[in-house]
Amino acid sequence: MAETVVFVVCAVGAVASGVAVFVLDSMARATFALLASFLFAAVPLLLLGLSYLGVLVVLMMVMEMMVMVVFMIMYMMNPAGLMPMSMLHNKVGALAVAIGTFAVLAAGVFLVPWPAREGAVPADPTLLLAEAIMGPHMLVMMLVGLVLFATMVASVVLSTPRGRYDRYGDDLRRARPDDPIDGGLGR
């Protein structure tokens, strides 16, 4: 019973804060509404006994949203960001897509014949989950991780206009790089 109550509260909270993202007129508040939505979504994982995943979602989402806030400054830097602003660009289309997706997923919840549980709850669901994901697919997972990381590095490298020739000269012979702001190691 208690679990059901917690789940309902979190489900409603997740949807409500998700809606708030598009209703609020401050980018900062929208960011934290989105964070709240993710945190609400993390609680059902805890209810499933997947404490590792649940806590990890909290950790990751907080950090992710704070990194998103870094990018926010590129678009807007009025402190407190109370410039009333709309987060909606393609209002009708976005609404249609959002409601459609929600309807499909919600219908799926009720229409899919979910299998009944066989056997008892494992002692350590985190370990079993890790084995299910990683066991037979360890190589794939490691490759995916590397590709993701390489993508991040490459996108940063491509997005910065300055390269090593700007820093070390055309023949790369400069002893100290020419940077707008020096780093801490004097490289």
Partner: protein, 309 residues
């Protein structure tokens, strides 16, 4: 073996202990400052209490154009994050809650400080606060990965994310000896996490107080208290992770936990007294080019040790 025993260590006891240690840290900093100023150090022990009295009387401020909701939320979040993170720290053989993923829980709760400081800075509608808040994010991006790797290395050495298991794994040799680089990185990132001492750039004097420039009265008191609580919590967590928890001769385990926590906290406060602020545009490169590779190498060495054993 650490167990959850609410009867022995209730949240209330935890709060009192945290408060006492946080006050001790603040008083210690004040005493060191008074010694440098050439005034009576003993009188400075009461300095945090006097400052609290001042802030209790002081009126709160409102700033035009402030995002008051986010601003107040940020201030309140800091002590809450500290206390939640402290739930998994064992006092000798007992913790308020020895979660199976205690190390991850601790990390998730302390990361809430990112939100807190940024909200404080952004919400106040002041350029000082804004720059301070963003400075803390840069600091976070510089220290958080080495910090995580240090935590993971300790968990790796124990083969478990449960803080109690990490303590149990140090019966023969403390992890501070087994993985000195991870311990050093943990202490550095602990200071950065509590934005204290050499890492106080987000609330630095050069920004007229940075993220803490605008709050006054009770808001400010909560913010300062939260900061010292955070410092206390990161110092206390070093004990089960690297210093063998309550292990030690003669004294009972809980006493050893307290003594070790006091020693680590004292060391952090002393570092804050002796080292000027590290500028973030200098530290970021160190974090990424030195600390991350170092922490990864440390993790590699520990992994090999675990496999060989």
């Amino acid at each position: 073996m650490v167990e959850s025993a609410p009867a022995l260590l209730s949240p209330l006891v935890l709060l009192v202990l945290l408060g006492v240690f946080a006050y001790g840290a603040a008083a210690g900093a004040a005493v060191l400052h008074a010694r440098a100023a050439g005034t009576a150090p003993v009188a400075a022990i009461a300095a945090p209490a006097r400052e609290s009295a001042r802030l209790l009387v002081q009126r709160r401020r409102t700033v035009p154009g402030a995002d008051t909701l986010l601003w107040r939320l940020g201030g309140a979040l800091l002590p809450v994050a500290a206390v939640l993170a402290a739930m998994v720290i064992p006092l000798g053989p007992v913790a308020v809650s020895d979660l199976s993923v205690g190390v991850v829980w601790f990390n998730a709760m302390e990361v809430l400080a990112w939100c807190a400081v940024w909200l404080l800075g952004w919400g106040a509608n002041s350029v000082w606060g804004l720059v301070g808040g963003y400075r803390f994010l840069v600091q976070g991006l510089s220290y958080e990965l080495p910090h995580m790797f240090a935590l993971i290395t300790a968990a790796l050495g124990a083969g478990s994310l449960r803080v109690g298991d990490v303590v149990a794994a140090q019966e023969e040799v403390w992890f501070a000896v087994l993985m000195p680089a991870a311990f050093a990185i943990y202490l550095v990132s602990a200071l950065a996490m509590a934005f204290w001492g050499p890492f106080d750039a987000p609330v630095g004097r050069d920004l007229a107080g940075g993220a803490a420039a605008e709050p006054a009265g009770a808001d400010r008191l909560v913010l300062l208290a939260g900061r010292y609580l955070l410092l206390t919590v990161v110092a206390a967590m070093a004990v089960p992770l690297f210093l063998g928890g309550g292990a030690g001769p003669l004294l009972p385990a809980w006493a050893w936990s307290l003594v070790k926590t006091a020693v680590v906290l004292g060391a952090l406060v002393w570092i804050g007294h002796r080292v000027p602020t590290v500028r973030m545009d200098r530290f970021t490169e160190v974090g990424w080019m030195v600390l991350i590779p170092l922490s990864l190498l440390q993790a590699l060495v520990v992994s090999v040790l675990v496999l060989v054993r």
